[in-house]
């Protein structure tokens, strides 16, 4: 995890620097679009789409850096993959519960597909899709909380 923290920190720094360079460069060499805006408003705007997009790419990487850094601190020790003296077995712990199979994601995808199709074609399809999606979400969330799995 130490390596991951560094990788994301470097990415964040790179995107941050790129955003600054991009914003400055877009002011030095404005595009025809920026100039046409400047004719109307009297001010040359920076190219906002790239500036915002690259800045938030930096924040995206910083966000994951921060989370991994806090997680590393709460684990309190290096994970086996960060140690040169660790064996293969050390990296083979209980990682959690994973459903062996489930129909609910398929049903949910079908419901959501109908909902979005409805937005494009006619809202009545969305109305049909909504209950399918709602039932699928509930079914998925509670799949291992009822029947044989009730506890």
């Amino acid at each position: 995890m130490r390596t991951n923290i560094w990788l994301f920190a470097i990415l964040s720094t790179f995107f941050g620097a790129s955003a600054a360079v991009y914003a400055g460069w877009s002011l030095i060499e404005p595009t025809g679009y920026q100039l046409s805006v400047a004719e109307l408003t009297g001010v040359v705007p920076p190219e906002w789409v790239g500036t915002v997009g690259i800045s938030l790419s930096s924040i995206l990487a910083l966000f994951i850096t921060f989370y991994l850094w806090r997680t590393q601190a709460s684990v309190g020790a290096d994970l086996p993959e960060d140690r040169t003296d660790a064996g293969i077995d050390d990296g083979d712990p209980e990682v959690g519960f994973f459903s062996p199979w489930s129909w609910w994601p398929l049903a949910l995808a079908f419901g959501l597909a109908l909902m979005f199709l409805g937005l494009a074609i006619g809202v009545w399809i969305t109305i049909i899709g909504a209950p399918i999606a709602a039932i699928s979400v509930v079914g998925w969330v509670y799949e291992y909380y009822r029947g044989n799995f009730a506890r």
Binding site: L40, L60, Y67, D78, I88, D90, V141
Partner: protein, 209 residues
């Protein structure tokens, strides 16, 4: 093969929580698109922006923002309770110190719902001021950005209910329920931070310029 010293008994990062964070990273980029639209259109028509922004009720929006920010605090109190594996309250209804995850999440739900209702009421007021979804570029991006945020809050409200339902469904609150509670709190804090950025861009920037 003998294990390396000190490598056993380490609590590995939970895959559900790491996955939630990575997904929230992709949500950052979703909102990046909305912010890019907002700033581009704002740069195109500063006069329209100044005129339409003056119709926004910043005091009202600030109160609504405060409610959402405080709901993050109550959600975090719910996480604290989840970390000590306390699903339900052990004291009286008004004994906050003994509240469990369920009570704190119900309170967070109520505050989040208040925010959404407040936002709808604000939309209603703005429509009477002739700011509609298709009236001009300000109206489009205002409803587009704050509306998508409102949908995220609504999704969070549903998620709160699902997690509360899980806690009600089990006899004993275990690590598994705590993980659900922590994952939804990540999402809630994220949506809260996005709103602070949106509030700054939509409501505060016009006052500064």
């Amino acid at each position: 093969m003998s294990p390396a010293p000190g490598s056993h008994g380490i609590s590995r990062p939970n895959p559900t929580q790491v996955g939630t964070i990575v997904w929230l990273g992709s949500e950052v980029m979703f909102f990046a698109g909305l912010f890019a639209v907002f700033f581009t259109l704002r740069a195109n028509s500063p006069q329209l922006w100044a005129e339409q922004s003056s119709k926004l009720d910043i005091t009202y929006a600030a109160i609504n923002t405060t409610i959402l920010v405080l709901s993050s605090v109550t959600a975090q109190m719910g996480v604290r309770a989840a970390e000590r594996l306390q699903g339900r309250r052990t004291g009286g209804l008004f004994n906050l110190a003994k509240w469990g995850t369920v009570e704190w999440f119900f309170l967070s739900f109520a505050m989040g719902a208040t925010f959404v209702v407040g936002q709808i009421y604000e939309y209603g007021n703005l429509v009477t001021e002739h700011i509609g979804f298709q009236s001009d570029s300000f109206g489009s991006v205002f409803y587009f950005a704050t509306g998508f945020h409102g949908l995220h809050v609504t999704g969070g409200l549903i998620a709160f209910l699902l997690v509360i339902g899980r806690i009600f469904a089990v006899k004993r609150f275990t690590h598994k329920e705590a993980v659900s509670a922590i994952a939804i709190s990540y999402y809630w804090h994220f949506v809260d931070v996005v709103w602070i950025a949106l509030f700054f861009a939509v409501y505060v920037l016009p006052l500064l310029s």
